[in-house]
Symmetry: C2
Subunit: 122 residues, 2 copies
DNA sequence: CTAAAACCTGACGCTGGCGTCAGGTGCAAG
DNA sequence: CTTGCACCTGACGCCAGCGTCAGGTTTTAG
């Protein structure tokens, strides 16, 4: 596949794919004319990269983590790093949940104003 | 309280507090000499701001949301906005959970290599 | 009264994940 | 052969939430 098709299927921009290559996250064969050529599996890989980015991993970490996800296992030296990232993700989740609860309270209160909240100006 | 104390208690930098003021997220009284003076409640407010930032809200949204959280209720016009933000947060949470699961798989596989993964070079 | 903290206002820098030109090439169709 | 779209390589732009330096003022400890 060529870059445009991968971009479409993975739902990212062409620019993003070039950027991933620049960051050593995604390699491509080159045609004699210099055009990038990807295997089908690239689409899944890009989706994975996006997922890790969405989790807040910087590209450097993604670079480390990718081969592990590919192989399903990790070099022991990376284990600490993986667990650290995992912990950070969990922390973010609880933070997000807390923030969401805040919003929920406000939303609920707005829907039906609670009795205790009745300090309206008479 | 002065700005340094608020910063310490809330666990943020002095610069951040000035930035919040610039963004209309946090007001302060000024002494005759021009120094900022905060009520005790500022600490909690800063923590809240941090929480909302951590949830990915941009300062513009935080500015809208803050009075709602203060009053415990919202102007009806903001309700849609609140729910949109809430939805985004929920989405992020599921995304994060998915990414975490990925890492968990890798971590688990590394800890005790699974039988199905035994294509070691003989 | 003085020295040292703590504070003040600009204003520029940084980081990351791309968006977006500009100016030139590859490749399949007719 | 040429048209035209997809592709190529730089290279600069952007945005947000501060970090950080510069150069000056206020407050407080002694």
């Amino acid at each position: 596949m060529r870059i445009g098709e991968v971009a479409r299927q993975a739902g990212v921009s062409v620019r993003a794919l070039r950027y991933y290559e620049e960051q050593d996250l995604l390699q491509a064969q080159r045609s004699t004319g210099g055009q990038r050529h990807y295997p089908e599996s690239a689409v899944a890989r890009v989706r994975l990269i996006q997922q890790l980015f969405a989790a807040g991993l910087p590209s450097r970490s993604v670079r480390l983590v990718l081969p592990c996800v590919d192989s399903g296992t990790a070099a022991p030296g990376l284990l600490d790093h993986l667990e650290a990232e995992r912990a950070r993700i969990s922390e973010r989740i609880t933070d997000l949940a807390a923030a969401r609860d805040r919003l929920d309270t406000v939303i609920a209160n707005t829907r039906n104003p609670p009795p205790e909240c009745t300090h309206d100006p008479k």
